[in-house]
Amino acid sequence: MTPAPRAARATSVWFPSLDPESVEWLRALTGPEREAATERLHDHLLRIARRELRRRGEQARITGPELDDLAHQSASDALVSILAKLEEFRGDSRFTTWAYRFVVLEVSNKLGRHFWTRPRAPFDREDWERLPDRFGFDPAQESEWRETIEALRLAVEHELTPYQRTLFVAIVLNGVPVDAMTARLGTNRNAIYKALFDARRKLRASLVARGLLDHHEDAERERP
């Protein structure tokens, strides 16, 4: 008799508080019903991928066969990762939530890469006239925000590193999704977030030092 895979044995030993559905998934995916369970899990992943792509795809302008193709790719890649990492499941969440995370993140990655098949504008276009609009400033009230926005532009130009400036121009000025930039730069979301996080702190310090931010923060707080 072939010994049960480690995950199946571990199910009852290590995860005594695991919910019955998770226990059943682990048992099925590591036992003799593995093939049918894998197919069932793939069906779940495909449905989630389709729904996620529909939810996010409108913004990414993905529909029809292209959406379905990306959904299949996301579900298949997620399934491969899940099966490869099955023994890493610690039972800290429901099994399905752990597994669905893989397909949700696959959708994000694939949408990021897909962005560059039809970019809306050059990611490095420095059209600073767009900056007020990116934050939703009312052109009719330009006299109130002009000085601050100009100071922000100068701070971007002179106080950010070239890398931070590239990210600011792409993500803030040109509206390129963060995941598209991770694909473009061959990095990960955390690295981009960290660089932008530091950039935001620098920009804030610069505006505060010029007395341009606190005044408006006070005004904001005083609003009803």
Partner: protein, 73 residues
């Protein structure tokens, strides 16, 4: 949201922000706590701070919560 609110939101950083790495690492645990209405922001305030500032991670969480609630159906 006024331009000022958006600008302040962009420039405001939380020192407790967990970052994308830790957030994505614990996303399924956080999602289960959301679904169970078990106060994820109390147990993981650093992740809650990150989710307030990072749209892509918040979007992933929204997708995962929806998927887990419906259990893939």
């Amino acid at each position: 949201m006024s331009g000022w609110s958006a600008l302040h939101g962009f420039l405001t950083t939380d020192p407790d922000d967990a970052g994308c790495g830790r957030t994505l690492e614990l996303l399924e645990i956080y999602a289960d706590l959301v679904i169970a209405n078990a106060g994820p922001e109390v147990r993981y305030p650093d992740i809650a701070a990150h989710l307030r500032a990072c749209d892509p991670c918040a979007d992933d969480l929204a997708g995962l919560v929806a998927a887990a609630r419906d259990n893939g159906s």
